[in-house]
């Protein structure tokens, strides 16, 4: 499955598991060189940009910083970003749970193909993801004339932005739940059913408590992508300030107008979101590892 890296993995790296056996250790100078190389690369490519977002944002002082965040266009961009996420995340959550139930708890032919198809949005360029909705709903698109006749706007309006967001965040919850529910098997659910529980009862009382951390993990990643998506949303947005501008698009507009301090102020908001996402992710991994230990 493409994009495996997003999967919740509870068995954490722990160097202490490797005893100090000289046969399986590198010479000290090798170890030091590797660490220095790896950490310099990490510092140069990840830490430096992260720090730079905040120093650039605060470089012109707090006044400029808060003025950029409290400006009317910025606030409407926040509102639109939240709207898109509030729609996209629950829809894809329901889809993810439903797909995982069908795939992990039942046998049917073509299962692997279905899993691959669910992964498709991860391997499509965000720009192509935006383009497909322009081809369907744009003025020249399949449904364009009909939509125009009925005065419905999808592309260059909020529905297009929501659709593009739903597309790029489509696989997150499903791909988290499918392998998890497959690994847990069906015995517990089958026992519940045999004892007379209805499908809903089985799901709410047996399946859901077992997968709650995986589910939360998927939702966190889905939300981060929904709020941060740029390419796909940029194609369908039309960049109308105050109307079809999400936070990432607002960053772009400010940047292209050479309002660097303001652009970085808004960007720092998104960087904070990224940091919160990483902290939550860490917390869920910790809890998941703990519940695995409890079972053992």
């Amino acid at each position: 499955m493409a994009g495996t890296i997003t999967a919740l993995h509870a068995g954490r790296s722990d160097p202490r598991r490797h005893p100090a056996n000289p046969a399986t250790r590198e010479a000290p100078w090798v170890r030091r060189t590797l660490l220095a190389l790896g950490l310099s690369f990490f510092g140069l490519f990840l830490i430096l940009p992260l720090l730079a977002v905040f120093t650039e944002a605060l470089g012109k002082g707090l006044e400029v910083y808060f003025a950029a965040l409290l400006e009317a266009d910025a606030i409407s961009a926040v509102a639109l970003t939240l709207t898109a996420a509030v729609i996209a995340v629950p829809v894809n959550l329901v889809f993810g749970v439903s797909a995982a139930w069908a795939i992990a708890k039942h046998d049917f032919r073509g299962k692997q193909l279905l899993i691959t198809l669910i992964d498709l949005p991860f391997s499509v360029s965000p720009v192509v993801a935006g383009l497909i909705y322009v081809l369907l709903f744009g003025a020249q698109g399949w449904f364009g004339p009909w939509l125009q006749a009925h005065d419905v706007r999808i592309v260059f309006a909020v529905p297009g932005i929501v659709l593009a967001t739903v597309f790029v965040t489509f696989p997150f919850v499903a791909r988290e739940l499918i392998p998890l529910m497959q690994a847990q098997g069906r015995d517990e659910e089958e026992a519940a059913t045999v004892l007379g529980a209805s499908g809903w009862q089985t799901f709410w009382r047996v399946t859901l408590p077992n997968v709650r951390w995986g589910l939360l993990y998927g939702v966190i990643l889905c939300n981060a992508r929904a709020m941060g998506e740029f390419g796909a949303v940029s194609v369908v947005s039309g960049h109308i300030r105050g109307l079809t501008n999400t936070l990432p698009l607002h960053v772009e507009i400010l940047y292209n107008e050479y309002q660097f301090a303001a652009a970085f102020a808004v960007a720092s908001l998104l960087a904070l979101l990224a940091l919160v996402t990483l902290v939550l992710k860490q917390f869920v991994e910790w809890r998941a590892a703990r519940s695995v230990k409890e079972v053992q």
Binding site: S13, L46, F95, V127
Partner: protein, 297 residues
């Protein structure tokens, strides 16, 4: 947990099942969940993606060929694929070093590094784009130090490489790390006791075990880099024939209302993604066979 009840007792609870359901479908809800899954998948993903191919076919072979092989577009393929390959290769080396350090070495701040590796997944691409540009621009922190040596990164193809390295790094680390964690050191001990040098052990014992994971990570980073847009456009400079990436070509065709051109280029990109997706699936099947276990989540 064992199910003590005999399976024969199950059908008695429900009405007689139709012939095709006889294969012990115990749990309810297959019909509605599968129906909704297929409906939603078709509505959001399959039908819209099919629209690209159908539109493309409707425009005719000649229009497709003309748009997909225009010199400016071909230059963008060369740049996008070349930079993506180079970035994935650099990440392959440093990603392996980082994964190895995280799993094998104890050092100050290891947990923090482990958590922050995922930053490129969590940080919106537009933010990455503007901050990398600010760092590598001729007046930026890094850029101004390089200007003295007459090296320019931002607004050249090298800037694109920097952005693609940033977004690709976690793919390699996160695919290699779990395999390294599962690796039993006994094999390395055996190699050492048979007289292998540490480097020989790594090259002949450890590296072959990691190969499928490394290749998968490489393919994932490569696929992501080819389609990447947000983090690249700010730092690229976007000069025709020099620093225009393929996704940008689609955008610029759209801005000129050239839907035929945009669709043709999108078709090329989609075919490429499908091929790569198949390759990645194959690689992962190979990886789980190689490790003699069910593919890790």
């Amino acid at each position: 947990m064992s199910l003590a009840l005999p399976r024969a007792a199950l059908p008695a609870v429900t009405a007689p099942a139709p012939a095709w359901r006889k294969r012990r479908r115990v749990l309810p809800g297959f019909g509605p969940t599968m129906g909704f899954t297929l409906f939603y998948l078709s509505l959001i993903v399959l039908i819209p993606l099919a629209a690209v191919f159908i539109k493309s076919a409707g425009n005719g072979a000649e229009a497709f060929w003309l748009a997909a092989t225009a010199p400016r577009v071909v230059a963008s393929y060369r740049l996008s694929f070349g930079a993506a390959l180079l970035a994935a290769s650099i990440n392959l080396v440093f990603g392996l070093i980082l994964a190895w350090s995280l799993v094998r070495y104890e050092f100050l701040g290891r947990k923090l590094v482990d958590a922050l590796i995922d930053l490129p997944f969590a940080l919106p691409t537009a933010v990455a784009g503007i901050v990398l540009t600010a760092l590598y621009a001729p007046n930026g922190w890094i850029g101004q130090r390089l200007v003295a040596y007459d090296i320019r990164i931002a607004f050249t193809p090298w800037g694109i490489l920097i952005a693609l390295i940033f977004i690709g790094l976690p793919f390699i680390v996160r695919t290699v790390q779990p395999v390294l964690e599962d690796l039993e050191t006994e094999v390395e001990e055996a190699a050492a006791s048979l007289g292998a040098h540490r480097w020989q052990t790594f090259r002949l014992v450890v590296l072959p075990t990691l190969a499928p994971a490394l290749l998968t990570g490489f393919a994932l980073a490569f696929a992501r880099a080819v389609g990447e847009y947000g983090s690249v456009i700010f730092i690229a400079g976007n000069l025709p024939m020099v620093s225009e990436i393929t996704p940008l070509m689609i955008i610029s065709k759209l801005e000129q209302y050239d839907y035929v051109g945009a669709t043709a280029i999108a078709t090329v990109m989609l075919v490429f993604s499908f091929v790569l997706l198949l390759a990645i699936n194959g690689l992962q099947a190979w990886a789980s066979r190689r490790n003699g276990q069910e593919g890790r989540r």
